[in-house]
């Protein structure tokens, strides 16, 4: 599996971020940490991809941001899912499932 997000399919990063945020509001560092952990260190999302993506999602009103305090008392910007974002997550998940299933089908055929 690719080590970097640049190799991730376009749009996949959006999906990963939305999924991660669906559990609880998080700051940028925590998001990248969580994705790394969950993917068994396979996905290491660089800040250069993460932040433009977060800002884009915010502009599209899928997520909200708010300044808050981390567990070790550091002020950081926390992102949370909006209603629109939740809807987007469920449709995108559906799309992804269908897409990956189709890709798998084709791969098995040959």
């Amino acid at each position: 599996m690719a080590k970097d997000t640049t190799d991730l399919l376009q749009g996949t990063l959006d999906l990963l971020i939305l999924k991660t945020l669906s559990l609880e509001p998080m700051n940028g560092w925590a998001i990248s940490k969580r994705i790394r952990q969950v993917s068994n260190e396979n996905f290491d999302i660089k800040q250069g991809s993460l932040y433009p993506c977060l800002h884009r999602l915010e502009e599209k009103q899928f997520i909200n941001s708010e300044w808050g305090t981390s567990e070790n008392n550091r002020r950081a910007k926390y992102y949370s899912l909006t209603k629109l974002g939740r809807k987007k997550l469920s449709t995108e998940t559906e799309v992804w499932k269908r897409f990956s299933g189709n890709v798998e089908l084709i791969l098995q055929m040959s």
Binding site: N27, G28, W29, A30, K33, K46, Q47, G48, S49, Y51, P52, H55, R56, E58, E59, S70, N72, R74, R75, A76, K77
Partner: protein
């Protein structure tokens, strides 16, 4: 849509918050690094190492900061500003082009906005009342009469309709009057007590009239208009209860103030008084009475046409049921109810609006053509930009912004022009309709013009671009395609546009030609009287001499005094305002032996005059004589005008016929002899030539409460008027001379609207001709430029200069001819709408058509000749070298 707006709003806000967002991003990234460092420390690194590792892992921030900024959306706004600046600069570089486009747009938008402002204010604007679409004014118009002949409702009709016409919520009466308040003559409206209720207005102060206040009796009350309250009483909150001193009447107590909305119905009135019920007016014989307005409100969901039919039915039933003796009469004269008549200028304005719309299309086509040829010239520039990565959307947006900029300037200038146009219009308008309010540029009209400017901007921006893009020239970088004919699409488009332009122009030119010729026809009508040296003035005597028995004597004394004024040749009077074009006293006549045109009871205006009237007015007696004067009794004979004789009398202008007002007399000796036939005098303006005929009666022994004095004199009118006033004052200091001027002054006003329409139609037609000429010229000269290589080659292989010249001119004429053909077909249909506006001519006027075609061909020839001459100058060697 809402989200879209919100997004744009946020973008604009973001533009202002750009700085703070930038700082926020920095802080966010800083926090990220620190959180990372802390995690590294927790996993056992030294603080120093942790910080280094974090920074290293984080990498360079500038690039993705940029990416973040992109996602904020301010980018779009910044791009837009850059595009606007770019477009403005490129327009500045081709000032001639920009100026032509802006001037054309300004002219077209200005003309449209001006005319539309007037049309909207006078015709289209709804009344400012609740359920205004249901409020109508009801007219009784006699058969064969003109609009100015109408007589209106009376108490009898008002009461009856209120009882019987159940498709209406109610009817109210109103009557414009005049009263002298503190020595100043003021316009007043007499209204029934339900007037304000029907219109749904509430008093600003106090109350409106109570039903019993319309009944005759003591106790006069008045309601001020808001304007009078403001101007004359400085908005005094305690005005209710004060009194108005009205000349010769018991003081009026002010009981309330009406809101301004009511002034749209009677703009001249300064206050309202109750419409006093005169018991005699309940007499069904007086079902119609001069100068009373009947307003009504339709019930919901009843159309005007339903209302009109219903009224006619009710009216017919009323005659059958209540006045069977008049049945024959009424059936002979079915009254046409005209609901909600438009302003007298309405039809002229609609015609002019049609003209300006055509002008707008012609101008718009020019703008489109100019932008087409400009975009074709810029093919190379666009294709360079395209190869550097600007996509269709970016290039399209750039072109659109350019045309939007042009349209915006055109719109602003157009509005300024319209403002000036309205200023000029108001000057004439107030002269023509002295009691009207000035017309200003309203919001609705403003929006309409904005939409027009926007539409032309989108068309002129996107159409040339799509044509250019479709031709494929932008996407190819091949340079040789520039001069080949790959942009056939653009040329086809602009040729089509020129043809359309010519077609539309010819309809406007023909329309204007018809209007102008018709105006000429009107001017060539003989007025039938000589107003140049006649001075008129009106005297009302019943307020000074309340007793009817004094009236005759008073009038004779006044006329005698007038004769004493030096320089006065003749003195006459008119008891019925016919001479000043306001005659409303018309009647049916019976003619012994029947009317010549088969009409059993023809209509005519009645006017009571004295024997000197014809001499004073310069009206020729064609046959017979005038009345005898100085008799002790009425001269019971009549004098009729030419029009009466020609239309109704057997044998035309010959004496001897006998007539009688209304029904034939019971005794044969009561028939009235016609002793004279006078030349037709068109008192209501030259167009009234075919209006109601006039019957002159001897008024010398008829007492009347007011009359019009007519003096013939060579002296200058102002000093005579002064003499007339002093003579009147000598007789009784309370007598007032009203509306005293020379008679031809109001007459010249009568044609001012026609004159204005003819003038403006002519101006619009000339503008359209000019714009078409520019259009033909523009397209041909662009063509010539495009075909330089071809022309050069032709010349090189021996084509003569005259051949080249003819080739280009032929092209111009050819396009014009196609346009003319189409335009003539359209004109045949469109001019039919003008038909009832034309005087003494058919809409299919050969002469007008012929001249219009000739003018257009001539102009097309000139417009083609100029580019053709340039084509001749093409040097083959130059062209080939350029290749």
């Amino acid at each position: 849509m809402l989200r879209f707006l919100e997004q744009w709003f946020n973008r604009l806000l973001a533009l202002f918050r750009n700085g703070s967002k930038q700082r926020e991003l920095d802080m966010e990234l800083q926090a990220h690094i620190e959180l990372m460092t802390q995690d590294y420390i927790r996993s056992g690194m030294s603080p120093e190492d942790a910080r280094k590792a974090a920074s290293k892992h984080f990498g360079a921030t500038e690039k993705f900061k940029e990416e973040c900024r992109d996602s904020w959306g301010t980018r779009v706004v910044m791009d837009l500003i850059r595009d606007i600046r770019y477009s403005a600069r490129s327009l500045w570089k081709s000032k001639g082009f920009a100026f032509t486009v802006i001037a054309t747009l300004a002219l077209c938008i200005g003309a449209n906005t001006t005319i539309f402002s007037v049309l909207y204010e006078l015709v289209l604007k709804p009344l400012p009342f609740q359920d205004h679409e249901r409020i109508v004014k009801i007219y009784n118009i006699p058969k064969g009469g003109q609009r100015s002949d109408f007589s209106n409702a009376s108490w009898s009709q008002y009461n009856h309709l209120n009882e019987q016409a159940d498709l209406f919520e109610g009817f109210v009466l109103a009557r414009p009057l005049s009263r002298t308040v503190d020595g100043v003559q003021r316009d007043v409206s007499g209204v029934t007590s339900d007037f304000f209720d029907l219109l749904g207005v509430r008093p600003l102060l106090g109350r409106f009239f109570a039903p019993e206040e319309v009944h005759p009796g003591p106790g006069n009350v008045a309601i001020l208009t808001e304007t009078t309250w403001k101007n004359d009483f400085s908005s005094d909150p305690n005005v209710v209860g004060k009194t108005l001193q009205i000349f010769n009447e018991v003081p009026y107590v002010i009981v309330g103030v009406a809101p301004r909305s009511i002034e749209t119905l009677y703009p001249a009135a300064s206050f309202f008084i109750p419409f006093k019920l005169i018991p005699s007016s309940l007499n069904p014989r007086y079902r119609t009475m001069p100068r009373s307005d009947l307003w009504a409100k339709l019930k919901p969901d009843v159309s005007r046409e339903q209302g009109r039919l219903h009224l006619e039915a009710v009216e017919r039933r009323a005659i059958e049921e209540y006045h069977p003796q008049y049945m024959n009469v009424w059936e002979m004269n079915p009254r046409h109810f005209e609901v909600d008549p438009p302003h007298p200028l309405a039809s002229s304005l609609v015609i002019l609006q049609g003209g300006t719309l055509i002008l707008f299309i012609v101008g718009g086509i020019n703008v489109l053509n100019l932008l087409l040829s400009r975009s074709a010239r810029r093919g190379a520039e666009l294709s360079v930009r395209h190869s550097f990565g600007a996509g269709k959307a970016v290039l399209g947006r750039m072109m659109l912004i350019e045309s939007l900029l042009l349209a915006m300037f055109g719109f602003v200038l157009g509005c300024i022009l319209a403002w000036g146009g309205l200023f000029v219009f108001n000057f004439f308008f107030i002269t023509l309709f002295p009691k009207s309010e000035e017309i200003t540029l309203g919001f609705t009209v403003f929006i309409w013009s904005l939409v027009m400017a926007g539409a032309i901007a989108f068309l002129a921006g996107l159409l040339p671009f799509t044509a250019l893009w479709g031709s494929g020239r932008i996407r190819k970088t091949d340079k040789s395609s520039r001069s080949s004919s790959t942009d056939r699409r653009g040329r086809f488009l602009s040729n089509g546009l020129v043809v359309t332009q010519v077609a539309i122009t010819i309809t406007l030119v023909i329309g204007a030609g018809l209007v102008i010729r018709s105006f000429g026809n009107i001017l060539s009508v003989d007025p039938g009287f000589d107003a140049a040296h006649v001075i008129k003035g009106r005297v009302v005597i019943n307020r000074v001499y309340p007793d009817r028995r004094d009236w005759l004597d008073a009038r004779n004394r006044i006329l005698y005094a007038m004769r004493q004024i030096p320089g006065v040749e003749n003195v006459a009077f008119d008891l019925d305002r016919v001479t000043v074009g306001q005659g409303v006293n018309h009647d049916r006549f019976s003619i012994r032996g029947g009317s010549a045109n088969g009409e059993e009871q023809p209509h005519a205006l009645k006017v009571n005059v004295n024997s000197e009237y014809f001499k004073t007015m310069g009206i020729e007696i064609l046959e017979g004589r005038t009345f005898y004067s100085g008799l002790d009794e009425f001269d019971t004979s009549y004098i009729v005008d030419e029009s009466f004789a020609n239309r109704y009398l057997e044998g035309g202008v010959t004496l001897g016929a006998e007539v009688h007002v209304e029904d034939p007399p019971l005794n044969d000796e009561d028939w009235k002899k016609i002793i004279g036939i006078a030349r037709r005098a068109n008192f209501q303006g030259l167009e009234s030539r075919d209006g109601l005929p006039v019957v002159y009666m001897d008024g010398e022994h008829r007492p009347q409460w007011g009359f019009t004095i007519l003096l013939r004199t060579e002296r200058e009118s102002e000093s005579v008027v002064r003499d007339m006033q002093s003579k009147l004052r000598e007789i009784n200091s309370q007598l007032i001379l009203q509306q005293a001027t020379s008679l031809d002054k109001p007459l010249t006003k009568l044609h001012m609207d026609r004159q204005g329409v003819a003038l403006l139609a002519g101006v619009f037609a000339c503008l359209a001709l000019f714009l078409s000429a520019v259009g033909i010229y523009g397209v041909l000269s662009y063509d010539v430029k495009q075909r330089q290589r071809e022309i050069g080659t032709r010349t090189a292989v021996g084509a003569k200069k005259s051949n080249v010249l003819m080739m280009v001119i032929r092209q111009g004429i050819w396009k014009t001819t196609i346009g003319l053909g189409l335009g003539l077909l359209a004109s045949l249909h469109l001019t039919r709408f003008l038909e009832n506006q034309l005087f003494d001519m058919a809409a299919l006027d050969f002469q007008t058509y012929f001249i219009a075609i000739l003018v257009l061909l001539l102009i097309a020839f000139i417009a083609s000749y100029l580019p053709a001459r340039r084509a001749v100058k093409v040097e083959p060697i130059e062209v080939l070298r350029a290749e």
